[in-house]
Symmetry: C2
Subunit: 262 residues, 2 copies
């Protein structure tokens, strides 16, 4: 069971949503997913800052104080030891119904669900035929328009745990749910911000210790270790890419390496 | 006011939607928009065929008979002279919450709204910096993940009525809400299906009379006339591109040309 707050109060899992809400009709909104330990949402400030930047770029109404109050109300109800918190902001209803309308009443959905952090800490990847579009907001911002990631994950699901997505130039971008890092000769390397990647919060935490560059598939195959980052699972090692083993370093080595430098 | 049918019956404009419905949380669904004259939804068979193809590719549950029954129920309530009908199908709730899950109970939303077909029949375009991703399902299928189109329309809204989107190779694809055709020396030309375009129903109706090819911006500037097609507005002439006049033929000429060949 999840704890669900929608547009002003707690609801029992079902929303009373306007049929014309653009979040539903056109994937027109943004979201954040945070790890929760007890009453603490991890890196809440960073997530809200990213959300404010995305809202500004897309022209969505953003009220940080309102979101913080909703998050606090939900966290106060938390009975789970480890949980995931999702904050969803949509454009709401736009009248008249033009693509370019602002939306005077955005919808805010905050939900908290139990999350088992003991999920697998190593995964395999396969390259998807679906590329990241580095010119598109949907590749940089955490928007509700997620269908290409879903299709990429489905495409490889019979042969790998997650899809590796290249950008339109054929360079390494990210997976459907996280950023990528590689370790090579004691140097941490990650695809550059202009490579069609989500601006990840965990990625940002590691960035001062890493080199941003154009990354190729050959770089991944030559790495000492490759890992994925995201806010819920933090560091997940990639053990195989298209069924070929990647790197010879252990997950413990990766974690030690990161811990010593943060 | 709209007439709204959702998951089994008529509702008063607000849906009781599961907070985890993937249509809302991840733009995970598809839709069709049809013109309605009286009790008749124009090209309903063609729209449902396209929807079935998209549902199959994306792994969404599709029940054509159920959709037809809902559409018939909504059309029977129609009081508008001209209206637009929207059919929305989402993946519904997926348990466990993996990107790759099927969704055993898709959500079906059918809504009918008055539509003024006397909207402007000529528009201007400006080129967006956001490209169409010809490798992505979202560029070919009419999915709920529409945010890049919205961002493109917003980007040019101060200087044009709609955005012209190029694909990742820099060739002409389409606009945010329709396909493009050009008329040159009595030949109808349209971007090829592999150019990152939506597989439009009105486009399909004209295709037997047209040549599909790679189209450049220079081709548009050299055309005798350029027009946009979509199911609600049918043929809309493009009079300017980035503030430069396009073609020297009238909208009447375009319509005559098309009418003689269908």
């Amino acid at each position: 069971m999840s704890i669900v707050w929608f547009n002003g109060g707690f609801v029992e899992g079902r929303l009373s949503l306007d049929a014309a809400d653009r979040g539903l009709t056109l994937g027109d909104g943004i979201f954040e997913t945070l790890a929760v330990h007890g009453a603490r949402a991890i890196w809440l400030d960073e997530h809200l800052t990213r959300m404010a930047v995305a809202a500004d770029e897309l022209g969505l109404g953003f009220d940080g104080a309102k979101i913080r109050a909703a998050v606090a109300a939900v966290l106060a109800q938390n009975k789970f030891t480890t949980a995931s918190l999702r904050i969803t902001l949509t454009r709401g209803v736009v009248e008249p119904r033009t693509l370019t309308g602002f939306g005077a009443s955005p919808s805010l959905l905050v939900s908290l669900s139990e999350f088992n952090s003991a999920l697998s800490q190593t995964i395999t990847l396969a390259v998807s035929s679906i590329r990241r579009n580095e010119t598109a907001p949907s590749s940089r911002l955490k928007t509700l328009s997620y269908i290409d990631n879903i299709a990429a994950a489905r495409e490889v699901s019979a042969r790998a745990d997650d899809a590796l997505m290249l950008n339109s130039a054929g360079h390494v971008a990210c997976t459907t749910i996280g950023n990528l890092f590689l370790l090579k000769n004691d140097q941490l390397i990650t695809p550059r911000a202009d490579q069609g990647i989500l601006s990840g919060i965990t990625r940002a935490k590691l960035l001062s210790q890493a080199q941003e560059q154009v990354v190729t598939l050959a770089d991944l195959h030559a790495a000492d270790a490759v890992f994925r980052t995201n806010s819920l699972r933090l560091v997940t090692q990639i053990t195989k890419l298209d069924n070929k083993p990647l790197g010879n370093r252990s997950l413990e080595h990766i974690r030690d390496f990161i811990a010593k430098r943060m």
